[in-house]
């Protein structure tokens, strides 16, 4: 189980994260929702140590990983796919994937690159392409595939749907759903696109101004009209 407890962070005087707590269970998708500037990206970046936490803790299967050096997290089984599709544009598809497998979870078996190409056949066709030549959807597949190369138990995804056509979003979300079931992953899915995210999530956490304003099973959130209007925009 992945647990965030009372986590806070600030950019100078701006408190971007104010005592956030939630848990994400194995084999489930936990959606973290909220409007622009709600603090979703800050939450993931604080978990990864890219932003320093001012209070609170992060635990992974009972192990305290608060303020662990960013570089160590993949070896603990935590992979973070950042906002804006962080492909390394100058490297090829295969090189991006190889890189993802260099520092995998301690004690895990290497992931054969071919497995990623089975999941994303489109990437297999473009294996020698430099990543800057890929389409937005292909890039999203590449960063998810690259994260999987590290054999994570927890996958943090920051707005994978950003700027993608609805069909591509549906395709990627379907794939995620499948991964969670087959690999028993814990997925924390940060999204502004609340409707799509809730359609594949088990649980939902709603942030506003750096605070949790709701945390409930996904179906319940989707059914709460008032909450939807106030925070989720649909």
């Amino acid at each position: 189980m992945f647990a965030v407890e009372d986590l806070s962070a600030a950019y100078g005087p701006v408190k971007a994260l104010n005592g956030v707590s939630f848990t994400a269970d194995r084999g489930q998708v936990t959606a973290v929702l909220g409007a622009n500037g709600a603090g979703k990206t800050t939450l993931l970046r604080t978990v990864s140590g890219l932003v320093r936490s001012t209070a609170g803790s992060v635990t992974l299967d009972g192990k305290d990983i608060t303020r662990t050096a960013t570089e160590k997290l993949t070896s603990y089984g935590l992979s973070h796919v950042p906002e804006g599709r962080g492909v390394i544009a100058e490297l090829t598809v295969v090189e991006n994937l190889r890189l993802g497998g260099l520092h995998r979870a301690t004690g895990s078996e290497p992931m054969p690159i071919e497995r990623i190409f089975e999941l994303f056949p489109r990437l297999g066709e473009r294996r020698e392409a430099t990543a800057h030549m890929l389409s937005g959807g292909e890039r999203q597949m590449l960063v998810i595939g690259r994260a999987l190369m590290a054999r994570p138990t927890v996958l943090l995804l920051d707005e994978p749907s950003l700027g993608l056509a609805p069909r591509v979003v549906a395709q990627i979300f379907d794939l995620l759903r499948g991964l969670v079931q087959n690999e028993h992953l814990t997925v924390v899915l940060v999204e502004q696109n609340a409707r799509s995210a809730l359609s594949i999530a088990d649980h939902g956490v709603v942030l506003n101004l750096g605070k949790v304003v709701a945390s409930a099973p996904a179906a319940e959130l989707a059914a709460d009209e008032q909450l939807r209007h106030a925070y989720l925009g649909f």
């Binding site: 960013t70 993949t74 390394i88 544009a89 100058e90 260099l102 520092h103 800057h132």
Partner: protein, 292 residues
């Protein structure tokens, strides 16, 4: 015809040295976006280390390797102690620091070794090779220079293209944050990049010094020529730096051979201006589309 052959061969040797030096600049530029103006002074220091060893009868090749090792450590130290503290600040800060380092190394070397010229030995002959009864415009040391630079280059290609370490180094240079999220120790990779660059610079210094005279200023022209070669090929591209070095070496050799030595710096400057006007990213820069 004979003269053409001679100037071409001379140009290739000169170009190989520029290439090595440009490569060192390129390695640092790629990993930290800094033009290291201290590169020449660092190579001068490591050359003096080799000379000191040779003067106490250490065999040439042992001194050669020791200088490379010293370059490696010097590069790592400079990155850790001088560059790292200003990381994330304006790039100009680091560049000015490298200029300062250039002056400090100059001053220290002059203080320790004096400013007089000293002879630096070569491991093989430095007189022109004779074919039949005509001598051609290349020396055994010239041939050795080309071979050594080619080996260094091949080594770097293997490192960057085919090894996991090279992949980590390239990834760190292109996108530090993403690399960290993937578990790469980016700080170490940057230190290693500087160390490697300074080692390559040390090789260039040793090859320039071989069979010639050294004083604390002997590498100074290379601040400019190495930079021109690197810009010519595209500071971002190692292969480009090498080709840029060869083009510059050949051009300068032809100008010196056919027109006159005094024109060489002017021509070098002309080439630089032309490239900056026509293709500021260099002749061989990848059609970079970063962060699209």
């Amino acid at each position: 015809m004979q003269q053409f052959l001679d100037t071409t061969l001379g140009g290739l040797v000169l170009g190989a040295v520029y290439a090595a030096f440009a490569l060192a600049l390129c390695l640092i530029w790629r990993s930290t976006r800094i033009v290291n103006f201290a590169q020449a002074a660092m190579a001068m220091v490591t050359t003096y280390i080799a000379l000191s060893l040779i003067n106490v009868d250490v065999p040439y090749w042992v001194a050669f390797l020791a200088a490379i090792a010293a370059g490696f450590m010097l590069g790592a130290l400079v990155e850790r102690l001088i560059i790292r503290p200003v990381e994330g600040k304006a790039d100009l800060n680091a560049v000015i620091l490298t200029l300062g380092l250039f002056m400090v190394l100059h001053g220290l070397t002059a203080l320790v070794f004096g400013v007089q010229h000293r002879g630096f030995p070569a491991p093989v002959s430095t007189s022109a090779i004779e074919v039949g009864d005509t001598s051609i415009g290349i020396t055994p040391f010239g041939v050795l220079t080309i071979v050594i630079v080619a080996v260094v280059m091949a080594g770097l290609v293997v490192l960057f293209r085919f090894t996991d370490l090279g992949l980590r180094m390239r990834a760190s240079a292109f996108n530090g944050e993403v690399s960290r999220l993937l578990g790469v120790r980016v700080g170490r990779m940057l230190t290693l990049g500087w160390a490697l660059a300074a080692a390559v610079g040390a090789v260039a210094g040793l090859l320039i010094a071989g069979g010639d005279l050294v004083n604390p200023a002997f590498m100074d022209p290379f601040v400019i020529y190495g930079f021109i070669a690197a810009v010519l090929g595209g500071l971002d591209s190692p292969i480009g730096s090498v080709i840029g070095g060869l083009i510059l070496g050949l051009s300068l050799s032809y100008v010196t051979g056919y027109v006159g030595e005094h024109l060489a710096p002017l021509v070098a400057l002309g080439i630089l201006m032309l490239v900056l006007l026509v293709r500021p990213s260099g002749l061989f820069a990848a059609a970079a589309a970063r962060r699209v």
